[in-house]
Every structure is written in structure tokens, then in C-alpha cells.
């Protein structure tokens, strides 16, 4: 997944969003002294390589009433973890889904799935849905609710990084 200096300039120019103009890629091209076609082709190539996950609109789920979330964690048998993790990630109420190492004895869980809902009782229902999906492949599980944001900074690409 290699990107070059021009790709990086396109990333820097669009990481806070696309311009709301009839020809947004031409606007970006104008900023960077590139052709519209090159910007579109490079964005498409980055999308193919997975550098860009997708080009889309992200609704503010909080504003739309999806205000509760919890980090659910699961101890899933290693030989089923990849298959089941993929199924959990595909659920429409899960926003992040990762396999991570257990840290024994402090932490027996290897699958992390962030669950969103209108309120905590909905989050708990979704959690039961995941438990049913994992079935016998899962031993212990837990859910961690955040009680306070202690720090939040955007993950912004440093210029020339």
C-alpha cells in the first residue's frame, strides 16, 4: 500500500472533507495544480488499495439519537475468531471491530466490538445478539461503558509525514 507525495497532497487537501461544489474533484485539482482527471484517478487507486476505505457522508449518529455506546469484549476461541469477528463487524450497529491480544491474567478477551444504540438498554439487547451469534465459541464477555472523555484529538496526518 504505497502512496506517493502527490497522493499525500490529495489526502491533506481532502482530509477535512470534500468541497460542496458541483465539481468537487476539479476544485481540489485546482488547489493542487493537478488535473481533475488525475485527482479522480488517484482517489480511485487509493480506494482500490484500501488507503481510502470509502468516500461517503458520515451522519452524526449522536445528533440522530444514537447516543449510547459500549465497548463489548469477548473471549472467542482462537480458531473461530477470524470468521466470527467478520460476522460481528458486519452488523449494522457495530462501528469498530478488532481482534487484539489477550493480556493474561488481567484481560482474557480477544474480540473488541463497539456497539451503538439509542440508549443503554438497546446496547444491552445488541450485546445479547452478538452473544447469540458467537454461541459456544465464546467464553467470558464483558462490556465497558465510557464515563468521561479525558482527551480527544483528531488523528491528523502530519504534513510530509
Amino acid at each position: 500500500m504505497t502512496i506517493d507525495a502527490t497522493d499525500r497532497r490529495i489526502i491533506n487537501a481532502t482530509q477535512s472533507g470534500l468541497p460542496l461544489a458541483p465539481a468537487p474533484y476539479a476544485v481540489v485539482a485546482g488547489w493542487l495544480g493537478l488535473s481533475e482527471r488525475e485527482v479522480i484517478e488517484r482517489l480511485a487507486a487509493m480506494q482500490d488499495k484500501g488507503v481510502i476505505r470509502r468516500i461517503a457522508l458520515a451522519p452524526n449518529h449522536y445528533a440522530l439519537g444514537v447516543t449510547a455506546n459500549g465497548m463489548s469484549v469477548w473471549d472467542v476461541a482462537d480458531d473461530h475468531a477470524e470468521t466470527l469477528g467478520a460476522e460481528v463487524g458486519a452488523l449494522d450497529f457495530v462501528s469498530h471491530c478488532y481482534l487484539r491480544p489477550r493480556v493474561l491474567p488481567d484481560w482474557p478477551y480477544n474480540l473488541f466490538a463497539m456497539i451503538h444504540g439509542q440508549d443503554r438498554s438497546e446496547v444491552e439487547l445488541k450485546r445479547q445478539e452478538i452473544a447469540a451469534l458467537l454461541g459456544g465459541a465464546c467464553g467470558a464477555s464483558d462490556i465497558l461503558y465510557s464515563t468521561r472523555i479525558l482527551k480527544k484529538t483528531g488523528l491528523r496526518l502530519r504534513e510530509g509525514a
Binding site: 502512496i3 499525500r8 489526502i11 481532502t14 482530509q15 472533507g17 470534500l18 460542496l20 458541483p22 468537487p24 476539479a26 481533475e36 479522480i40 482517489l43 480506494q47 484500501g50 488507503v51 481510502i52 476505505r53 470509502r54 468516500i55 461517503a56 457522508l57 458520515a58 451522519p59 452524526n60 449522536y62 445528533a63 440522530l64 439519537g65 444514537v66 447516543t67 465497548m71 475468531a81 460481528v88 463487524g89 458486519a90 452488523l91 449494522d92 471491530c97 481482534l99 487484539r100 491480544p101 493480556v103 473488541f112 451503538h116 464483558d142 465497558l144 461503558y145 465510557s146 464515563t147 468521561r148 472523555i149 479525558l150 482527551k151 480527544k152 484529538t153 488523528l155 496526518l157 509525514a161
Partner: protein, 157 residues
């Protein structure tokens, strides 16, 4: 980001259709608003004006490419600590002082502090985690991602 729920009447059926449709993707074409507007029965100008308005209302957090930060270089690691209650505020100050700490949440658990380290190199993760352990005298549990799954998350507007 707006942390208030919009009143239901803030969005009409067209707004909701836009939010639902454009979550799925946005065209990489010379006139993407015209192309995306067609199936919604909206002209290019109408769609742009609607998105502008949704953005001003705080109904949208982002509109554009979503990048995989890791694919662009750099390293990330989720970390957790069990911080004694009477030291919590002091430890928050020590941890947050590191610019490598991208975000940090208090969570209701014995492991009550969860933060993400973001560094230019994998070695930077280890260096920062060790520095935090030294400064706080507390163990920093490291949870690097082994595998990330494709996400189907959608909010029904």
C-alpha cells in the same frame, strides 16, 4: 461534533433519504452531486444545498474520503491502565501530556483508563508506553490490533 440530539422535525424525508443513501458511498465522477442526486430525485444544486444545511445543523460529522490512518504510515495502539481512584486526576494529567495520546476515555471497569497511542513508528508506541509506566508507576496494558474487520455500521436516519 454536536453532542445534542436534533429534534425529529429538524430533518424531513428528503434529508433522511440523503443521509441513508450517501452513507453507502459517493461517486468519483466529474459531477458527483448530479449523479448522486438522480436516484434521490434531486438536482445537483438541491443536493449541495441540502448537504450544506445538514452540515450546518450538525447532522453530518464528515463528508468525503475516509482514510485508513495506518495505511498512510504510523503506528497505533489501544492501551489500558487500572488507575487507583485517588490518583486518577494526577494520572490523567501525566498521560494526556504526551502528544502521542490521541484520545483517552474513562471507562467503568477495573481497567478504568483507555487511550490510543498514535506515533510515527512502531518503536514510538513502546517508548511512549514505557515512559507512561515510569512516570505513573502503573502497568500499561497494550492491545495492538491483530486484525480489523470490515465494518457494516450504518445509522438509519
Amino acid at each position: 461534533m454536536r453532542r445534542e440530539v436534533l429534534p425529529p422535525e429538524a430533518l424531513d424525508a428528503t434529508d433522511r433519504a440523503i443521509l441513508n443513501a450517501l452513507q453507502e458511498g459517493f461517486p468519483l465522477t466529474p459531477h458527483p452531486f448530479a449523479d448522486a442526486g438522480k436516484p434521490l430525485g434531486l438536482s445537483e444544486d438541491d443536493l449541495i444545498a441540502r448537504i450544506q444545511n445538514l452540515r450546518e445543523e450538525g447532522a453530518i460529522t464528515r463528508f468525503g474520503p475516509f482514510f485508513d490512518a495506518e495505511a498512510m504510515g504510523g503506528a497505533f495502539c489501544l492501551c489500558a491502565m487500572a488507575v487507583p481512584g485517588d490518583r486518577f486526576d494526577a494520572v490523567v494529567t501525566l498521560v494526556n501530556a504526551h502528544p502521542e495520546v490521541a484520545h483517552n476515555y474513562e471507562r467503568a471497569h477495573r481497567l478504568n483508563m483507555w487511550f490510543v497511542l498514535a506515533t510515527d513508528t512502531p518503536a514510538g508506541i513502546e517508548k511512549t508506553a514505557r515512559a507512561i509506566e515510569k512516570e505513573t508507576g502503573l502497568k500499561v496494558l497494550r492491545f495492538p490490533k491483530l486484525k480489523e474487520f470490515f465494518i457494516g455500521f450504518r445509522v438509519k436516519a
